[in-house]
Structures are given as structure tokens and as C-alpha cells.
Symmetry: C2
Subunit: 174 residues, 2 copies
């Protein structure tokens, strides 16, 4: 993304009009997530604010895991397979398992995974069109969700956790 | 909004196509913000997790204040006036002033303000069209922002703080 386009939501080369607007939003959100991470080392990424907290590393893994889950659901109409659950299960669920398993990685590890997952998302979105975005399937409580909502939800979940990362980072005594 | 439409981003009666999609997102976000608030009394709304924290009440005021600021900027091309700054200044800035001034209100106070501000937003958006959404003006660091970005930013800021409200609510010992 051209840095000059950071504050523009609109047409994006290589994507249909609605998908371009959605991708504009996803890119801005990711830009702001990455902007919170400068200078974080392994100790900071593993830090637990209290016994119920998720580390910043676990939250970053969660953001990539949620995106991976929605790739499987919307692009391929399936759940994560056993190998994918091995890689992403703890990050998807957060909590105790994530606190014990997601540790000891440097910032590049988390950023690389975010970028690898995102590259796949953009590759698949570029192959689809606005009619695909409108396709619906049953979602929570039996109500339908369309693909537009599902990809909106991916970045709205990221924003929720970006808010928590900001809060945690501000308080970290390291 | 029909509850059946909660997970659909798309055309919305009374709005042009792009504005309808934007409003679909704003409504979902607000739905999830309000879903965090059930049962909160004055003491809980005023609670400060630590000396640097914003209370949940202050975060709710901030969400309404940011929306008010962007109403003035995008609908009327102006800053907040003195009377509006009197009402919203502490909530816009958060921090020390908000900690001392935004206290003692019940949940209805915050929800009423959110709803009052939102009603005005929807009334004004219904009068505008997708071409208006594309209009640009100088924004941060001299880069342009269009109105589509600015209203996206209003709800992405709300999501950031919804994440913090969830975190605070989960830890509150009350």
C-alpha cells in the first residue's frame, strides 16, 4: 500500500470495488497493529499482566489464527484440519493453553506469520468478486452471515485486540 | 436494525450503497459495545483499574465524543464550538481530566448520549451519497483522508475501546 493512501477507503487496484474497500480497511487496521510493536523483545512479548491475561505474543498469534480460520471457512468452506489445528489451536482459543504454549518467540516470528497469512488472504480475495462478498451461510444462532460480514469481523476482532495490546504495552514495566 | 441482519453487511434502506455498508458495520460495532454493559452500576462505571486507567464510563463518553467530533468535521467542516467542547472536551482527551470529571452517572446517561449522537449521525448520512464518501481533505501528516475513511475510523476507534472495556470488565472485582 502506498503510504499516501493510508487514510483513503476506496478502489484498490487488483480488487473489485467492494473487496477493494474492505481490503483498504484491513490494511489500515494491520498498519496500526504493527505500529504498536516497535522494540518489543521476547520478554515483553511473553509478559503476562496477570493470571488471566494473554501475552502480546499470544494476541498477535490469535489475530493470525482468526484470519486463518476465516480463510478456511470462506474460501474453502471447511474447518481447520488437524495439521492447522496443531499450529493454530492454542492461538484461536487463547487462555491457559496459549499462556503455556505461546512463548519464547521473537517479534519477527509473529510478524512473519501475520504477513504470511495476510498474503494468502489477499491472493484469494483478488480472485473473487463483489457477488461472492454477498454470499450468505448460516452463522451464529442460526442467523445468516455474508462473506462481507465475515471479513469485516476478522478486522474488527483484530481491532478489539489491538486495543488490548495498546493497554498492555502502556502499562508494561520492563 | 432487524436482528436477523446483524451479520450481514450490504444494502440498507434509506442509505446509498456504500453508506449502507458503512452503517451496517457501525451498527454491528455498537451492538457489541452495548452488549458489554449489562448490569453495570455507577460504581462499576466509575471504577479505575489503576492510576492511568480510564473508567468504562469515560470510555463510553469518549466513543460518543469522537463521533460528535467527526460529525462537526465531516458534515459541517468545522471544529467543535465552545459549548460542545464544554460538553465533550474531557471525554475526547481522556486522561486526568476525564478521571476527575466523568463520574457519578448511571448507565442510562451514557447509553442515552451514545444513542442521541448516533441518531444525528444516521440522519446526516441518510442525506448524503457515495460521492460524498469519496471527498477528501487534508488529514494527519498532511496526507489526505476521505469521508469513508473518517467514518470507518470512528467505528475502529470504538472497537479499540470496546476491547479495553471487555478487558476491564473481565477483571473488575465488584
Amino acid at each position: 500500500m502506498d503510504a499516501r493512501d493510508l487514510f483513503l477507503i476506496g478502489d484498490l487496484r487488483g480488487f473489485t470495488p467492494q473487496i477493494g474497500r474492505l481490503v483498504s480497511m484491513m490494511r489500515y487496521v494491520r498498519h496500526t497493529t504493527l505500529a504498536e510493536l516497535g522494540g518489543l523483545g521476547v520478554e515483553q512479548l511473553d509478559h503476562l499482566h496477570d493470571g488471566e491475561s494473554n501475552s502480546i505474543g499470544a494476541l498477535l498469534s490469535h489475530i493470525a489464527a482468526v484470519e486463518t480460520w476465516y480463510q478456511a471457512a470462506t474460501f474453502f468452506g471447511r474447518d481447520l484440519d488437524a495439521r492447522e489445528m496443531e499450529e493454530w489451536g492454542a492461538a484461536l482459543d487463547l487462555g491457559e493453553k496459549a499462556r503455556s504454549e505461546i512463548r519464547g518467540h521473537d517479534l519477527a516470528h509473529y510478524v512473519d506469520r501475520l504477513e504470511r497469512v495476510r498474503a494468502k488472504t489477499l491472493e484469494e480475495l483478488a480472485r473473487r468478486d463483489d457477488a461472492w462478498l454477498e454470499e450468505q451461510s448460516p452463522f451464529r444462532e442460526g442467523q445468516p452471515a455474508n462473506n462481507h460480514f465475515k471479513w469485516f469481523h476478522v478486522f474488527e476482532d483484530e481491532l478489539n485486540h489491538r486495543g488490548q495490546i495498546r493497554w498492555l504495552r502502556k502499562r508494561a514495566r520492563w
